[in-house]
């Protein structure tokens, strides 16, 4: 533990760790020093001069180095002028006066200066009501200005920095919080200051504008209304919004969010989600969320929402009662006996998945997870262990990222792994092509597509990288599905798990294996014992299929064909999909915004989400629908109380042992303090009062014997002459059912693309941006060529969920 320093702030004794800034020390003691440019997560700059205070330091005798005593106390010498509390570090015996007449005068003067160029258009400003400048003006500012209104700056008011973020140049107070966030935290230096003096302005110098997936966070920490999101522009006033705790369902990070809702005339008088804001959880997402989580929530309110149960009669889907629909499904499932198949996706909550798995276990059916990554059962064995927290990783910890582009697959993990590396953790990035994380890596390993397992095994051998890995105290491996199908990723997972297990990196905090899954709750499905299948078409054909929260028919024409050839299909989803069009029975489910439940993040943290908006139509929560079907099949499953399902789950699944809803709702004090009355300090991120969740225990930590099955990986197919090896990669903004309804993301989603090495493109005679026809594995379609010189020449990358169905590496032909 670092040295503690005691100082006096406003006559109060405060003890804080060495190196703390005066502004933060005051905050810890509950004393508010007004700030604009200072942010506890950013490096100090002292640009705004708002935190002026009087600082006195004890006088030391030059000869002895001891304090000079005066009347029994150290003699304090105050500096003749005010100092900034945000750039001065605490010193032993320091005396700080934050509210003295002199300090108050300085703060008042700063506000008066700031307001000379501020438009004071609070009535139309989206920040109005949660604006630090507004609040601090009320608290510290002068009632009148001595400046002349006519000399105010007149600047552009509607400047799009990118299609997601707008800038109001007049409102900007040049605190550089946004620029520093992008430089220091996000690592995407895409905005900066231009010009100087009173003409200083924020500009974006990337193409497309503000090209960062963390851009929305700048609007949270902007202390004025200069940066606003396109999504929420003039949407509502902050005081009219209600706040509901939730969990982001877009990726396995499990960011804590707050859904702000309001009744809206434009939506026909319904209560709708107006914006998604981050909710502090320093162990998961700190106070940030990515733009996908912030803007892609629109699918829950989409026009294609299912509202009533439907059943096929004479080829048409007609409305039926819940009782009739579930009975019809149950009868067919019973009739199918061993041919009953459940296909569920990680979009569902733990409770839904548990009920589905129980139904499969109690009937003769089988439960499959709809995923493109395998090997998840190993994460339940080797962890990560309870207490794993990227924020605690630093020197001594090794983080390996293999076959995953975290920036595209799980942006907040990218951010946290980057920070751990900057704190001194050894970061080994192993990927066939360049990723944004390479810049922060201690070692970058570039292997050929297909050599994943071999590269993992190299880590356990002697050598520069192997030594760094084996000598570390803790090790975490994040594995993904870059260029891999189910069997490929399962082989990588097995190699990683074996490596970790052999070297004792299991069963402890900050040790173990993390899967970078495709969906929010894939981890939960693995814990529940779901299995994955490479050849889904074979599994579905001729069976009675119960598809929940997945749309295989749209993802892959082969699966659509297999479903058409299925005996019976019951599709349960939030909205109309290609699968519900094929289905014999369609069961409308509630969206995550309408119900309660829990999700398990990739770090194996079970977290609760809460209902925010009223239910659409007759939709029911997934676990209740499953329970109703089960009842008709003679299986009794809890179907009324979601917390009761969780209790049964905790009693039967070992890793959930000892958890319950009350425990998941526990919170503990977090630093920095955000989201209370003090919006000026941490931004408009919400305080976490609804629960930080709890991590699951790993089998290795429970003392169970861990045996890692050896998975042989088939060699990837060899492309013939004039063919390329097509491999699937993951793109953040894809055409998935939960992303596409968000229209403002369409520009970022783009078209199906084919990523080639420039040399490969040259030999094919195609250029970047050119539309080509590709055909592989019975799939053909159009794609736009993009170039990347970090990939091998003989390989073509195809992003998943962009219209071209690719599940594993296959040979491809370009026309």
């Amino acid at each position: 533990m670092s040295k503690q320093i005691t100082l006096t702030i406003d006559r109060r004794q405060v003890t804080v760790p060495e190196g703390t800034l005066v502004a933060d020390a005051a905050k810890m003691a509950g004393i508010d020093i007004p700030v604009f440019c200072h942010h506890p997560k950013l490096e100090p700059v002292g640009m705004c001069r708002m935190c002026l205070v009087e600082i006195g330091r004890p006088v030391r005798d030059r000869a002895t180095g001891q304090f000079v005593m005066e009347n029994g106390a150290p003699k304090i010498q105050f500096m003749p002028k005010l100092e900034t509390a945000c750039t001065n570090k605490v010193e032993e015996g320091m005396v700080v006066l934050t509210q003295s007449e002199k300090a108050a005068e300085g703060q008042k003067g700063t506000i008066e200066f700031l307001l000379t160029s501020h438009p004071l258009d609070c009535p139309v400003c989206d920040k109005g009501g949660e604006c630090p400048l507004q609040n601090l003006t009320m608290a510290h500012g002068p009632g009148k200005s001595r400046f002349i209104f006519d000399e105010k700056m007149r600047l552009d008011k509607m400047v799009p920095l990118g299609e997601l973020i707008w800038l109001d140049r007049e409102r900007c107070i040049q605190c550089a919080r946004c620029i520093r966030f992008q430089d220091e935290i996000a690592g995407d230096s895409v905005i900066g200051f231009d010009d100087r003096g009173r003409r200083t302005q924020i500009v974006s110098f990337s193409e497309p504008g503000f090209d960062s997936v963390f851009s929305g966070n700048t609007t949270d920490i902007c202390p004025v209304g200069a940066l606003t999101t396109t999504d929420f522009r003039f949407g509502a006033r902050p005081w009219e919004l209600e706040a509901h705790a939730s969990i982001c369902t877009q990726c396995p990070v499990g960011c804590n969010t707050t859904l702000n809702t309001r009744r809206e005339a434009k939506a026909g008088g319904k209560i709708v989600v107006k914006r998604v804001m981050p909710r502090q959880n320093e162990e998961v997402n700190e106070i940030w969320i990515c733009d996908k989580g912030r803007f892609a929530y629109h699918y829950t309110e989409g026009k294609k929402r299912l509202t009533r149960p439907l059943a096929r009669k004479d080829g048409k889907l007609l409305r039926v009662s819940w009782e009739a629909a579930t009975k019809l499904a149950a009868e067919n499932f019973l009739k199918a006996k061993k041919n009953f198949v459940i296909l569920a996706s990680g979009r569902l909550s733990n409770e839904d998945l548990f009920n589905l798995k129980s139904l499969a276990d109690h009937s003769e059916g089988r439960a499959y997870l709809y995923s493109h990554i395998g090997g998840g059962e190993l994460t339940s064995l080797v962890g990560v262990g309870e207490g794993t927290n990227f924020a605690k990783m630093g020197a001594g910890t090794t983080i390996v990222v293999i076959a995953s582009n975290l920036y595209e697959e799980a942006p907040i993990w990218h951010l946290r792994v980057k920070q751990a590396a900057e704190r001194g953790a050894t970061l080994i990035v192993m990927n066939p092509r360049g990723t944004k994380l390479d810049r922060y890596a201690s070692f970058v390993v570039r292997y050929a597509y297909g050599d994943e397992v071999k590269s993992v095994q190299e880590l356990g051998k002697k050598g520069r990288i192997g030594d760094a890995f084996l000598k570390s105290e803790n090790a975490v491996i994040l594995y993904g599905s870059e260029g891999l199908g189910i069997s490929g990723s399962a082989a990588v997972a097995s190699a990683c798990a074996k490596l970790l297990n052999d070297n004792g990196f299991v069963g402890k905090p900050n040790n173990g294996l993390i899967g970078v899954w495709g969906r929010a709750n894939d981890q939960g499905a693995w814990e529940m014992g779901f299995e994955v299948e490479e050849d889904l078409a074979k599994v579905l054909k001729g069976k009675a299929v119960y598809i929940v929260g997945a749309d295989p028919a749209a993802d892959d024409p082969k699966l659509a064909k297999a479903l058409e050839g299925a005996e019976f299909v019951a599709a349960q989803d939030v909205m109309e999909t290609a699968t519900t069009e094929i289905a014999d029975v369609v069961l409308p489910a509630q969206a995550f915004t309408e119900r309660e439940g829990t999700l398990t993040s990739g770090e194996r943290r079970a977290q609760r989400f809460y209902p925010a908006v009223p239910v659409t139509g007759d939709a029911k929560p997934d676990f209740a629908i499953t329970s109703q079907i089960a009842r008709h099949m003679g299986v009794i499953l809890e179907g009324t109380s979601v917390s009761a399902v969780f209790d049964i789950l905790a009693a039967s699944v070992k890793s959930f042992e000892g958890l319950n809803y009350a425990k998941l709702a526990e919170v503990k004090p977090q630093w920095p303090i955000v989201g209370r009355g003090d919006l000026y300090y941490g931004g408009t991120t919400y305080e976490n009062t609804q629960g930080m969740g709890a991590q699951l225990s790993a089998a290795a930590a429970r003392g169970e014997k861990v045996s890692i099955p050896r998975v042989q990986r088939e060699a990837p197919p060899r492309p013939k002459e004039n063919e390329l090896l097509a491999v699937p990669v993951t793109k953040l903004y894809d055409r998935g059912t939960t992303v596409l309804p968000a229209e403002l993301l369409h520009e970022r989603i783009g078209d199906a693309s084919l990523i080639l090495h420039p040399d490969a493109a040259k030999s094919l005679g195609v250029e970047a941006g050119q539309a080509v026809n590709v055909s592989f594995n019975g799939v053909s379609g159009g794609a736009v060529v993009k170039l990347d010189d970090t990939i091998p020449v003989g390989v073509a990358l195809i992003p998943r969920s962009m219209g071209l169905a690719i599940r594993e590496p296959v040979p491809l032909k370009v026309k």
Partner: protein, 172 residues
């Protein structure tokens, strides 16, 4: 006391009656005849327009926030020069006042940064059902003097950039 005294008193009383008969009557024959209200009377709200016909209301919702009876509902949208309702970036796309809830306190007038909402002199507010007590924006908006001034309308680009009228230096 004289015997005539009762008669004198009677006549005096009738005198007042007679005098009053000649006075101008104070009764207004409502509803045929309507009484002029006082200058500061607080009646039904009116949403004002600028002289050029643009709506003064910018949809800031401060009236709704100030309303002690929660009678006002405002929803804002974005203006464009192609389809301009009010100066600046923001206008009220929905503006509703529930007249049954309103207590005519005038706080909304005080809160309004553009003097868009004014309590007028219409006091004839009675309804057959609760729904008709909700006044929409169309009912509250002042009529335009000429057709060209209707909103939304296309305006010259870059002219109406400010929502709140320019602040002036104090004259003294």
């Amino acid at each position: 006391m004289s015997v005539l005294d009762p008669f004198v008193e009677l006549l005096r009383g009738l005198g007042i009656t007679f005098k009053t008969m000649l006075d101008k009557p104070v009764t207004f024959q409502y509803p045929e005849e309507k009484r002029q209200v006082r200058p500061r009377f607080r009646g039904r709200h009116v949403l004002k327009r600028y002289e050029n016909g643009l709506e003064k209301c910018i949809g800031c919702s401060l009236c709704a926030a100030a309303c002690p009876a929660d009678a006002i509902f405002v929803e804002a949208s974005e203006n464009s020069d192609e389809k301009r309702f009010s100066p600046g970036e923001r206008y009220a796309s929905t503006y509703e006042i529930n007249m049954l809830r309103c207590i005519y306190c005038g706080f909304c007038e005080d809160a309004c940064p553009t003097e868009a909402i004014v309590l007028g002199d219409n006091y004839e507010l009675s309804f057959y059902d609760r729904r008709s007590a909700i006044y929409t924006k169309e009912m509250l908006l002042e009529p335009v003097p000429t057709v060209e001034m209707t909103t939304p309308r296309k305006v010259e680009a870059g002219v109406f950039t400010r929502s709140v009228p320019e602040m002036k230096d104090p004259a003294d």
